[in-house]
Amino acid sequence: MNQMEIVANLPPLHQKLAVTVLGLVAAYWVVRQVRHNRFHESHALPWFLGIGAGLLIVWCNPLLVTITSLMGVGVPASALLLLSLFFLFLVCAWLTSMVSGQQRTIAKLVIEISILKSRVEDMAARETGESDDR
């Protein structure tokens, strides 16, 4: 598909408005999650960036045409769908790395706490033994 055909297939205004409303609803939902402490601020960042990038691409026709042409897909709407999937993939990959990091930290803490707990129990047992001797 050449550049002219891509331009001819650009999403009409009502579709752009629908995507914008969806983006704003998603952004509001993320803000609510942060406000209720369900999302950490740093975890909300990729969602805001993703929504912002999505809106920018939808409203900036030259950018959408370039991306559609670069990706080799037929129509700009398909390019938007592929970009959304790619964004979700990035978020999943990022979350996987975070979960792995958290798992390592938890394991380290479990080890430290288990060792300390056994020391405290040993000390308590020794103290009980000493007071019984007295």
């Binding site: 430290e112 288990s114 040993d122």
Partner: protein, 245 residues
């Protein structure tokens, strides 16, 4: 100078077995000033109480973390207590404590840093399912190809660890789930001297294995192979960048 020895025994739901294991270790180690430390990996039965009653010290993990992390707790405790030599054996009674003095001798004399108790070199026949034998051969072959180290029983958890090797066991890159051949490769590439000696193995009293079922062995093969490739790759990159091998 007398060396401080610690026997670490990771155990998960081994009530009914662990008491005898601890008593057997005490008997076998009567000539050595050794402590026995059982790492109770969040058992739901009376493993900790039974081990304590048999005369072992116990560290109870606050939750079940798996074999590798239980071992890591033991290594960390050993290092913080200034232990020189660690004997590592399973809590299900598979590893015969009578083999410990023979395995410890080369480490105590300084002839090597790590000794692996081998069921393959042992004269006593140890029955192993075909799939596990194939797995054992495969990982031994991989270890030889990547680390030029010929170990017949590369998946044995019966080991004696000397001071030079112990420091490597508490490093951040120690694998958490299944520390076996990947650790041997890591140690070999770091210049640790490893020796394999025959040891007596017994069939587990409970007949259980942590590699039973279909999915667990498949995951083990995947995880171990990937881990070994990563160990080799990190070493290769480090050598390429002029870092210490």
């Amino acid at each position: 100078m007398k060396q401080k020895i610690l026997v670490i025994v990771p155990a998960y739901n081994e009530a009914g077995t662990i008491g005898n294991v601890v008593r057997d270790i005490r008997e076998a180690m009567s000539a050595f000033p050794a402590d026995i430390l059982v790492i109770d990996d969040g058992s739901s039965d009376g493993t900790a109480a039974e081990a304590r009653a048999a005369g072992a010290r116990v560290i109870s993990q606050i939750q079940n973390m798996g074999y590798g992390y239980a071992l890591r707790t033991g290594y960390q405790a050993a290092q913080s207590e200034g232990v020189d030599v660690v004997v590592q054996m399973d809590g299900d009674g598979q590893h015969a404590p009578s083999s410990i003095p023979g395995l410890m001798a080369p480490v105590l004399s300084g002839a090597c840093d790590l000794v692996i108790g081998s069921r393959t070199l042992s004269k006593t026949h140890y029955p192993m399912p075909l799939a596990r034998r194939i797995g054992q051969r495969f990982f031994s072959w991989l270890l030889y190809r990547m680390g030029n180290l010929r170990i017949h029983d590369a998946t044995s958890g019966f080991q004696v660890i000397g001071p030079a090797a112990l420091g490597r066991f508490v490093s951040a890159d120690f694998p958490g789930d299944y520390p076996d051949t990947n650790v041997l490769l890591h140690l070999r590439l770091k210049g640790i001297r490893i020796l394999e000696l025959p040891a007596e193995f017994r069939v587990s009293a409970t007949g259980k294995s942590m590699h039973s079922g279909l999915l667990k062995p498949a995951y083990y093969v995947y995880s171990m192979t990937l881990s070994m490739v990563m160990v080799y790759w990190r070493h290769w990159m480090s050598a390429k960048q002029g870092g210490r091998p």
